[in-house]
């Protein structure tokens, strides 16, 4: 069980957070149909900083996966410049055949429990996200939390997918770093999913190799019954074959945790892309506002000087079908001037917003990069450690078996 102490500025206490249990529940869903789902127990405990040994009582509440999703969506909208930690997968993916793809499977539930705990720890250790009140209530307030989230109206603030897509295509001058980051996240996603797929197949095959050796155990034992001198050697060698065959289960279970570590970064790629999209949206918005301002200024100029720099239908029609009165023109110019002033202020603030966004987003991205490099390197090392352990077990078994065979 991993615990983390984190500091909540406005609450001023250190907390330990764990997702300690998972439980199957049945209930009625929105359409009043019976459904089965899993609920997870979140335990929190304030830790007095002076006396690490002294522990306050544990608070706990139950949450289901959909509530975690709600929390994350809220964070995504509320902190668009942050690379928001991902949730563990909704459905089992990249399974090799012995693993179940069933959401209710106890092994899947267990791995998801760990993933959810990991998610909470990531949020709680993030310098910005950990201070969020909704997050704090998620951990501590059982009833009424959903309503509280919805009251923030975050869903209204969410950018429409269509708008975002449009911006991605049409934006002219996005910050190059974000464009590169987008490419990077695409590559990361593609390579990790490929890796996970092949790893699953490798695991499958490895399982086969080990398990077939188990058959030796049975046959050696039966054979030893008819042999006099060879009997003992065969029998004991057979035992080691059984040990060998059984050893793969633990080995592969450990490897699943490694796969989960990689999966987290697979999903992080999507979070990176979300930040890039937000930048593109803001940049596009800015470009549109600047364009609008420029065209208004031009219109204003044309009206004031009476010249037509650019062709406009309005200008043509007014030339052909009758002039405006000077009063009308004056009125128009006044309106435009007001709009231009508004537009310039807006542009200024949008510019500022955009620069702020880029600055804070990039700071978080740097933080993320360092975290990613640390975590992935550690994961690769742990993979090596696992392989070493597997080899050592293999050496032991086959040394023993060899000794038995040589006594045949």
């Amino acid at each position: 069980k991993r615990k983390i102490n984190f500091w909540m500025k406005n609450v001023s206490k250190k907390m330990e957070i764990t997702v300690s249990e998972a439980e199957k529940r049945t209930g009625r869903n929105a359409m009043n149909m019976q459904e089965t789902y899993t609920a997870y127990l979140i335990e929190t405990r304030a830790v007095e900083s002076q006396n690490e040994g002294q522990c306050s009582p544990v608070d706990s509440l139950w949450r289901r996966y959909s509530e975690f999703e709600l929390l994350r969506n809220y964070l995504l909208v509320t902190y668009p410049h942050i690379v928001v930690p991902p949730l563990p997968e909704k459905r089992a993916d990249f399974v090799w055949h012995k693993l179940s793809a069933d959401n209710m499977d106890p092994d899947f539930v267990e791995r998801r429990r760990i993933g959810l705990e990991n998610f909470l720890l990531r949020v709680a250790s993030h310098p910005v996200l950990c201070q969020d009140k909704i997050f704090y209530s998620f951990l501590t307030q059982e009833g009424g939390w959903k309503e509280m989230v919805n009251e923030t109206g975050f869903q209204l603030k969410a950018d429409s997918r269509l708008k975002a897509l449009n911006a991605t295509f049409r934006v002219k001058n996005p910050d190059k770093r974000f464009t590169e980051l987008k490419h990077y996240s695409d590559e990361l996603q593609s390579v990790i999913s490929h890796l996970l797929r092949v790893r699953a197949r490798v695991a499958d095959r490895l399982y086969g190799v080990y398990k077939v050796h188990g058959n030796y155990g049975r046959v050696f034992s039966e054979w030893s019954a008819i042999e006099k001198e060879m009997g003992d050697g065969l029998q004991s060698a057979g035992h080691h074959m059984d040990v060998y065959a059984a050893s793969i289960d633990d080995i592969l279970e450990e490897e699943e945790h490694y796969a989960d570590q990689l999966k987290e970064y697979l999903f992080y790629a999507e979070a990176l892309r979300a930040v890039c999209r937000k930048h593109e949206l803001m940049q596009y918005d800015l470009e549109m506002a600047a364009q609008d301002l420029t065209s208004k200024k031009q219109q204003c100029e044309e009206l004031a000087t009476g010249t037509m720099r650019t062709f406009s239908l309005k200008g043509m029609t007014s030339k052909l079908f009758g002039q405006e009165t000077p009063e009308q023109r004056e009125a128009k110019i006044k309106i435009l001037e007001e709009q231009i002033q508004e537009g310039e202020e807006q542009l200024k603030s949008k510019n500022l917003e955009g620069r702020d966004f880029v600055k804070s987003a990039w700071a978080d991205i740097e933080r993320f990069k360092e975290q990613k490099n640390r975590d992935l390197k550690e994961a690769l090392i742990s993979y090596a450690v696992m392989q070493i352990s597997m080899c050592k077990k293999g050496i032991q078994v086959w040394t023993n078996a060899k000794e038995c065979f040589s006594k045949m």
Partner: protein, 451 residues
């Protein structure tokens, strides 16, 4: 080229660039040689109904076109295991090798001949060195002559005529090589046998020129009569067990039934393991390069990723070696003993048949009082025959059991060794990777804020 005969101690390694007949050995230029047909394929397809094996992997694609590499290096220790026999090498005075398969095309057929080289110091041989060419048919002939002459001796197994299961092109490189090795073993086992080694047909087989052999083959009872002998033997055993079979041979029979069962299953298991290892190898081949690909889009962790890729590639090669070891040693020996178990059942039946001849004559005597003297003489001869057969079989059986024990011990020990080396190699690879990583790491910062 082949090692020259059996020498005490490890035979000299073949010249660099080739295992024993690994690729098709050099054919003397100008020899009529047809391009050998067919893509390499698995020698033995497994049954789908492997009831006694737990099937664990769902996507067993048995019909793969596997690219089996025939050019596997052969380690000295595996060569020893292949040629080791229980008889003292220093007492040997007959050394035989089988090599150099050559294809011959005639209007009627295409067939392969093998070169058989014999070196001997025995007086009854006119020369001390012989080189002849023999085809599979000739080996079959020899085997049947030996069976005829010594019905209750255990004649070593010949490789099968062809493997029915699977799409094996008769002349694939792999098939020929497997057969060549088995033929080599066959002749050497005969040479080692205290009785068979002095058989006249054996001598002729080793020394006669092609035309001499043909004319010699034409003499003696024809194929049909030889078949008849075994058919009668089988028939008589089908009619029911021999009433007066000595306890010892009933025990042998029971033993062989169980042994036969077990050795067949072991053969299947070993093949299945080989297949699983190959599938694993195929996946691993793809697994390593993905890490290299990934390293291209990373900076800080590129080295770690490349390190992992290199480790996986090395383990991949180690797997290849592991597979080769299996196919060089364990698989051929298990297969040989599968054939041996059939041979032994046949020998026991023939012994029973000889005994039943005696028994029926005795019965006949009991019923007909007439021609007593004639019958007694016949019975006397038959009694001698039975006693001879029993003694011969008993002695050969003991010898066979000892050989079997020795062969099994060395084959399985070798397999364990093989696997040990595999894990040791992989361990070294990963340990050196780990060492390189922990050297690069500066002191880990407080991991408190990391999950």
């Amino acid at each position: 080229m082949e090692a020259e005969g059996r020498v005490p101690g490890p035979p000299p390694l073949p010249p660099a660039g080739g295992g024993i007949g690994a690729e098709l050995p050099a054919i003397p230029p100008g020899a009529a040689r047809a391009p050998l047909l067919g893509a390499p394929a698995e020698v033995l397809e497994l049954d789908d109904e492997e009831d006694d094996l737990e099937v664990f992997s769902k996507d067993t694609s048995l019909a793969e076109a596997n690219s089996f590499s025939p050019s596997m290096t052969i380690s000295p220790s595996s060569m020893i295991n292949q040629y080791k026999f229980e008889d003292e090498p220093e007492l040997r005075d007959l050394f035989i090798t089988v090599d150099d398969p050559e294809s011959h095309i005639t209007a009627i057929e295409t067939f392969i001949t093998y070169r058989v080289i014999t070196k001997t110091s025995r007086g009854e041989f006119d020369s001390c060195e012989y080189e002849v060419r023999r085809r599979y048919q000739d080996f079959l002939w020899l085997k049947s002559k030996l069976e005829e002459a010594h019905p209750t001796l255990i004649i070593p197994p010949l490789p099968e005529k062809f493997i029915m299961k699977g799409m094996v092109e008769r002349f694939s490189d792999e098939f020929i090589e497997t057969r060549r090795k088995a033929l080599h073993k066959f002749l050497n086992r005969i040479a080692d046998h205290p009785t068979l080694t002095f058989n006249e047909d054996f001598k002729i087989f080793l020394t006669a020129q092609a035309w001499e052999l043909s004319s010699h083959k034409k003499q003696g009872p024809g194929l049909l009569s030889r078949m008849g002998q075994t058919v009668r033997a089988v028939a008589s055993s089908v009619r029911g067990g021999v009433k007066n079979r000595p306890e010892m041979f009933t025990e042998m029979n029971d033993y062989m039934e169980t042994f036969s069962q077990k050795i067949n299953v072991l053969d299947k298991i070993a093949h299945r393991i080989y297949k699983e290892e190959r599938e694993y190898f195929n996946e691993m081949k793809e697994y390593g390069p993905i890490h290299t690909l990934w390293s291209a889009s990373e900076e800080d962790i590129a080295d770690s990723l490349k390190g992992v890729a290199s480790c996986i590639d090395k383990c991949c090669k180690a797997t290849e070696k592991r597979m080769a070891g299996l196919s060089e040693n364990l698989l051929p020996i298990l297969h040989e003993y599968v054939l041996y178990s059939e041979i032994l059942m046949g020998v026991l039946k023939r012994r029973d048949h000889i005994q039943s001849e005696l028994d029926s004559k005795i019965d006949a005597l009991a019923n007909k009082k007439a021609d007593k003297d004639l019958f007694s003489e016949e019975i006397g001869k038959l009694e001698d025959k039975v006693e001879c057969a029993n003694n011969a079989l008993k002695a050969d059986w003991d010898r066979w059991k000892q050989n079997m024990q020795c062969d099994m011990r060395s084959a399985f020990t070798n397999m364990a060794d093989n696997n040990l080396h595999y894990y040791e190699e992989c361990l070294a690879t990963w340990e050196s990777f780990l060492a390189s990583q922990t050297v690069d790491c500066h002191g880990e910062e407080d991991s408190e804020d990391r999950p």
